[in-house]
């Protein structure tokens, strides 16, 4: 990148900077006139000095240039008296105001856009560089440092870039114009007004330099601060586990103290500069009043000229201030640019072509993978991989064995081209692999390490990530969308960004060996099953939701499963007691009173179960069917039971969380509520108390809580309320509830609940397991297993895959690598976090899959190498031996030691 910010600005926005400067220059004559006209108004139009009325304007507006008279009004004669002349001049003044402000508007907008585009370019460039950093860079540079550099630190640069050339040009020109005006009026006065400028020009940079140094320190300290925050977030578990919050807080407070110290010094210096500037600026008027006044008294100067000069000087202050501010901003921007750019060019960074240039059809890799004298050093220059030379024909499966520090992990990274060797080279099928771009290695090879990363998004997003290299089929746009897309492209190009379409289809189906998206999903599920994740994805699917409008076929299939489950249950009385199905005309004892009333799932939080008693419509329904009093009474009984049961438990007791209708915090309030209320006259309670009592009955699940409060009478009335609720639901609330309807798919419930269409009964031993098994059976019978698993592909994995277990993340990463069917699959203990049965299953599947292809697997235990064609033995960075497992496990000292130590 360019060494200075001016170099960068000039290289990428030369045309815009020139345009802005020209625009600024074009505005200056109008600016001059803007100061000239008021003088003429006062002197000629008002005071009538040097003019004879009636005045011939044509004559007055004839400019003599190189001896030629140019009449500005053309051949027209215009003769006016004093008053119309005044109005004409005032009109001209008004027009000039418009022109000047118009220039300002256009220049500012142009400037803003130029700055923003340059900022976008800079950010993109920095981000693209992060993607080309050699991996070891990230050991020294944390995300806490990188993030503020790309986001906050470069932000002010955008503002500066817009101003870089045009502001000094415009404000300088502005200043020069006013100065010219002043000097033309009276040179002595003008000289007096600017006599102290040289002092400012000498003093300010001196002071500014000190502020700059402080600014540098501040940037560095703030960067360290964000690094600290990043570290805290990542290591928060350790902080809690060791009770080191105070230590962490102390450290943070310490950093803040230093930042404060730096800022304090910056403020002091800055305001000293400001103080000096303003004081010096005020010396101007002093010169006008004293010297100018003297000349007016002696008659050497007209009063109108003095007034105009004072006005002009006042305007002089503005551009001068702008120029000084620009100077400060320029100093600041230069520091920031230097500091950021110096961080974004680490040694060994790969060139842009490495990722961007699309190779000619990257055919399958064939031949041999050859390493010659491969050496990698660590930070202390000690060899981690030491002079490894080998030839690996690409039709075999290799296991790398060795102890933890043997360099086997690093070797896999070198072979996968993720690390660059310090010495030696790798070649592939004859060519030097170091010359192979990522576009080839990233598509034809795959590497999975022990700590694989999973990105936020769905399982499918992660699974198919390795197939997204380039937009392959562009999206179709018409009308407004096409215009928007064109704008997107043109803006991207103006800022040097890539213009790839986020809505295009990026998936390389051919790489996965399939034709279309449907086949891809099938292939994805097959690969997940291979990696031992099939059942888990199916379970995600069961708990997933679908949009029945988008997938009517799926919804219909789930409804078939619902019917299938009912048939099974009808056939076996032992199953019948396990589930209490939803029936519009029957009260469901295994559902809460609230669910019975609504007889549907809430959509959004309008009818949130926790707050049903607060909804006016629900209250209205209760009143209409005459349930209000009964609910109050039941609420009262629930409250007294809870108080009786839980009052003398400690508030943090787990029984509270598990069983109580009332949280430990609320219990004392409820207790006092009960004391002050009269059971016979609950209606007389204040609204708030009534609300509290009313909310309790909604949560009762009769079969679970066995409180004996939901009797037949109440059940009957709730059914009545259910009918009323549905029949009178206002239109605007219709979308807030998805009613239970045996013939309809319920979009607000997950697939499992849709199949169940009821509640698993409380109090039946192993009911949940048995119902789960039954549902699986029905799904198998109807051949829906794959359909459900497909829904599981849309499971959101959370930030960095945090909703998945470590083992699941690892399996997903493995599946992602397999998805692109690499010619060379390189694995470094990818199954370390899995149990040994799953490990063995995955290994068997992969060994079978890679029969006759190239699989390089660094295994965590030597005995795992048994099934491979050949094993490579690493020790202290060196390749000690290679051969068959049968041979080496008997005859090689290293391998025998490794096996013995397991």
């Amino acid at each position: 990148m360019e060494k200075t910010i001016f170099g960068y600005v000039w290289r990428f926005s030369r045309q815009q900077q020139i345009n802005m400067t020209l625009l600024s220059a074009a505005s200056l004559p109008f600016l001059y006139l803007f100061y000239e006209v008021p003088k003429t108004i006062i002197n000629e139009a008002i005071q009538g000095i040097h003019v004879q009325y009636p005045l011939n304007l044509a004559e007055k507006l004839t400019v003599s240039l190189f001896g030629v008279d140019i009449p500005l009004l053309g051949p027209f004669d215009l003769v006016v008296n004093q008053t119309p002349y005044l109005y004409i001049l005032c009109g001209v003044f008004l027009v000039l105001v418009g022109i000047n402000q118009g220039f300002k508007f256009v220049i500012n907008v142009y400037k803003g856009l130029t700055g923003e585009r340059m900022l976008r370019r800079l950010r993109f460039e920095l981000y693209a560089r992060v993607l080309r950093f050699p991996l070891p860079t990230f050991r020294k540079m944390s995300q806490g440092e990188i993030i503020p550099m790309i986001t906050a630190e470069v932000e002010p640069l955008g503002g500066f870039i817009g101003d870089a050339f045009s502001l000094p040009a415009f404000q300088g020109g502005y200043l020069a114009t006013i100065l010219a005006f002043l000097f033309l009026q009276d040179w002595r006065m003008a000289a007096a007004a600017v006599s102290l400028y040289p002092l400012q020009l000498w003093l300010i940079p001196k002071l500014q330099r000190r502020v700059n140094l402080l600014g540098k320190e501040r940037v560095a300290r703030v960067r360290r601060l964000s690094d600290k925050i990043g570290e805290t977030v990542q290591g928060v578990q350790e902080t809690h586990a060791n009770d080191t919050s105070n230590f962490v807080l102390m450290d943070f407070s310490n950093q803040l103290f230093w930042i404060y110290g730096v800022r304090e010094r910056i403020y002091r210096q800055k305001f000293v500069i400001k103080f000096l500037n303003n004081s010096i600026q005020q010396l101007g008027p002093f010169a006008f009043y004293s010297i100018g006044g003297y000349f007016v008294i002696t008659g050497d100067l007209e009063i109108g000229t003095l007034v105009a000069a004072i006005a002009a000087h006042k305007d002089l202050a503005a551009p001068w201030k702008e120029l000084l501010a620009y100077y400060q901003m320029q100093a600041d921007a230069t520091i920031k640019y230097d500091q950021v750019v110096s961080q974004f060019g680490p040694a060994g960074m790969r060139g842009p072509d490495y990722q961007m240039v699309e190779p000619d059809e990257p055919g399958p890799l064939t031949g041999e993978l050859t390493a010659a004298n491969l050496t990698l050093n660590d930070d202390q220059e000690a060899p981690v991989v030491d002079g490894v030379s080998m030839r690996l024909p690409l039709d075999k499966r290799y296991a790398i064995v060795g102890s933890g520090g043997s360099g086997k992990d690093e070797l896999t990274l070198l072979l996968a081209r993720l690390l660059d060797p310090d010495n030696g080279n790798i070649s592939l099928g004859g060519g030097d692999a170091a010359l192979l771009p990522e576009t080839v290695t990233g598509r034809r090879m795959a590497h999975v390490g022990a700590a694989a990363f999973v990105f936020a998004g769905t399982i499918a997003n992660n699974l198919f990530l390795g197939l997204k290299h380039r937009p392959l089929r562009s999206a179709e746009y018409t009308g407004a969308a096409a215009k928007h897309r064109a704008l997107y492209v043109s803006e991207a190009r103006r800022s040097g960004n890539i213009d790839f379409d986020p809505d295009a289809d990026w998936i390389d189906y051919a790489a996965a060996g399939v034709e279309d998206a449907d086949a891809l999903r099938q292939a994805g599920l097959a690969v997940l099953a291979q990696c031992g994740m099939g059942e888990e994805v199916y379970q995600f699917g069961l708990r997933g939701t679908i949009d029945p409008q988008a997938r009517p076929d799926l919804a219909a299939a789930i409804l078939r499963a619902r019917a299938g489950l009912r048939q099974h249950m009808a056939a076996d009385p032992a199953l019948l007691v396990l589930v209490e199905g939803f029936d519009a005309d029957a009260y469901n004892l295994n559902a809460s009173v609230g669910e019975n009333l609504m007889f549907g799932n809430p959509v959004g939080d309008v009818f949130d179960v926790e707050h049903l008693a607060e909804h006016p419509y629900v209250l209205d329904v209760l009143a209409q069917v005459g349930l209000t009093e009964q609910f109050l009474s039941v609420g009262y009984q629930v409250a007294s039971t809870m108080v009786e049961l839980f009052a003398d438990l400690p508030p943090d007791h787990e029984l509270f969380q598990q069983f109580s209708f009332i949280s430990a915090d609320d219990l004392p309030d409820i207790q006092s509520l009960l004391q002050r209320s009269d059971r016979a006259n609950l209606a007389a309670l204040p609204d708030e108390d009534r609300g509290r009592l009313m909310s309790l009955p909604f949560k009762i699940i009769p079969a679970r809580h066995r409180l004996g409060l939901v009797d037949d009478d109440l059940q009957g009335k709730v059914l009545e309320a259910r009918r009323y609720f549905a029949a009178n639901l206002p239109d605007e609330l219709r979308s807030a509830v998805e009613f239970f309807d045996v013939t309809e798919y319920n979009a607000a419930a997950n697939i499992q609940d849709n199949i169940l269409f009821g509640k698993v009964a409380y109090g039946q031993a192993q009911a949940v397991d048995r119902v789960g098994a039954l549902i699986s059976e029905v799904i198998m019978e109807l051949d829906l297993h794959e359909v459900v698993a497909e829904v599981g592909l849309n499971f959101e994995v959370g930030i960095a895959g945090s909703r998945l277990s470590t083992a699941q993340r690892q399996k997903l990463a493995l599946a992602r690598a397999l998805m692109k069917r690499p010619d060379i699959l390189i694995l470094s203990e990818p199954t370390a976090s899995l149990d040994s049965a799953t490990q063995a299953g995955i290994m068997a599947a992969l060994l079978a899959e890679y029969e006759g292809r190239c699989l390089i697997w660094s295994v965590q235990r030597a005995s795992m190498a048994a099934g491979f064609d050949e094993i490579l033995v690493m020790r202290q960075g060196r390749l000690m031996e290679r051969g068959s497992y049968a041979d080496l496990s008997q005859n090689n000292e290293c391998v025998r030691e490794l096996l013995a130590s397991e």
């Binding site: 039971t641 049961l645 029984l655 598990q658 069983f659 066995r706 004996g708 109090g763 031993a765």
Partner: protein, 158 residues
């Protein structure tokens, strides 16, 4: 059956007889009412214990599996029996398998709650000791009887 009825039931059991009603109510409320069908097992020998069961209605067999895999029904339990407490008291795996022989209605009392009650009500601990002692005595009797018959058989064989 409602909570109040369960409380009555608990009170009729010697183990809980001396506990105040409000605690029994809490016990009933926080315990799970669990029904087993004929042939279903409450737990299996060797499982880790997490709860004890009070039989509310029905009968079940207590079966011990010997090292050779032979199954021996050592007892039949019915209404008011309290089973499964040994595993949660001593943190040992279940010593027997209990299988319902009719439709069985139970109250499942979790380990935490059980310990809480024992801590709070020493009389309950005494009741448990009494019950364990009674079972020990029964086992001794059975052992003596078995020894006697073994000797008889040996004598007959010799």
């Amino acid at each position: 059956m409602s909570l109040n009825e369960e409380v009555e039931l608990l009170r009729s059991i010697p183990l809980f007889a001396n506990i105040e009603p409000s605690k029994l109510k809490l016990l009933a409320f926080t315990s799970e009412r669990l029904a087993f069908q004929e042939g279903q097992s409450l737990f299996h020998q060797g499982d880790m214990g997490d709860a004890a069961y009070l039989v509310v209605d029905g009968t079940a067999d207590v079966v011990i599996e010997g090292p050779d895999g032979a199954k021996l029904t050592v007892a039949q339990i019915s209404r008011n029996a309290f089973v499964g407490e040994i595993a949660i008291l001593c943190d040992v795996p279940r010593t027997a398998t209990i299988t319902a022989t009719t439709k069985l209605d139970t109250l499942r009392i979790s380990k935490d709650l059980f310990f809480r009650l024992v801590n709070e009500f020493p009389t309950m601990a005494v009741e448990i000791m009494r019950e364990l002692a009674r079972r020990q005595e029964q086992s001794n009797l059975q052992l003596t009887e078995a020894n006697r018959r073994l000797r008889e058989l040996e004598a007959a064989g010799a």
